[in-house]
Symmetry: C2
Subunit: 85 residues, 2 copies
């Protein structure tokens, strides 16, 4: 499956969240990650993030069966190398 | 069409970006918006955002034909009222 993950972490935890997500997905903007992921790895990613999360930290994950029909438009500067296009 | 919009604006411009996006879409997390939108309104939204954008400001918009098959998982606290579910 293809996922788009967006997080909102407290400054004190955001680096750990970033390092965790980068193990599984492509970093496309400051708090946005994308990529193809297996059910097993998806479960592991969520468990790792849950262990980091506290208080108002929040993660939204959009699940698509495939990224094939996903269209994107980017305005302005891409936050990070955008090698998922 | 259904869109997911994620932005990364400099602190000095983020409020204007927020007010602009809230006119067209539902605010679901600090820098994330979603919703059904017409081609005309989508064009207008992008134009308004372009007028605000400077330097490293960045917007990624994911376009889906419909939000009907879009699945979401939310971990932790939802940043804002989440009335798109």
């Amino acid at each position: 499956m293809y996922v788009i993950l967006v997080y909102d972490f407290d400054e004190s935890r955001v680096n750990r969240a970033l390092q965790t997500c980068r193990k599984y997905l492509t970093w496309v903007q400051r708090s946005v990650f994308e990529g193809e992921i297996s059910e097993g790895k998806f479960y592991a990613l969520k468990e790792e993030l849950r262990r980091i999360m506290r208080g108002k930290d929040s993660v939204i994950i959009y699940l698509l069966e495939t990224g094939r029909y996903l269209k994107r438009e980017v305005l302005g500067e891409e936050g990070q190398p955008f090698n998922v296009l």
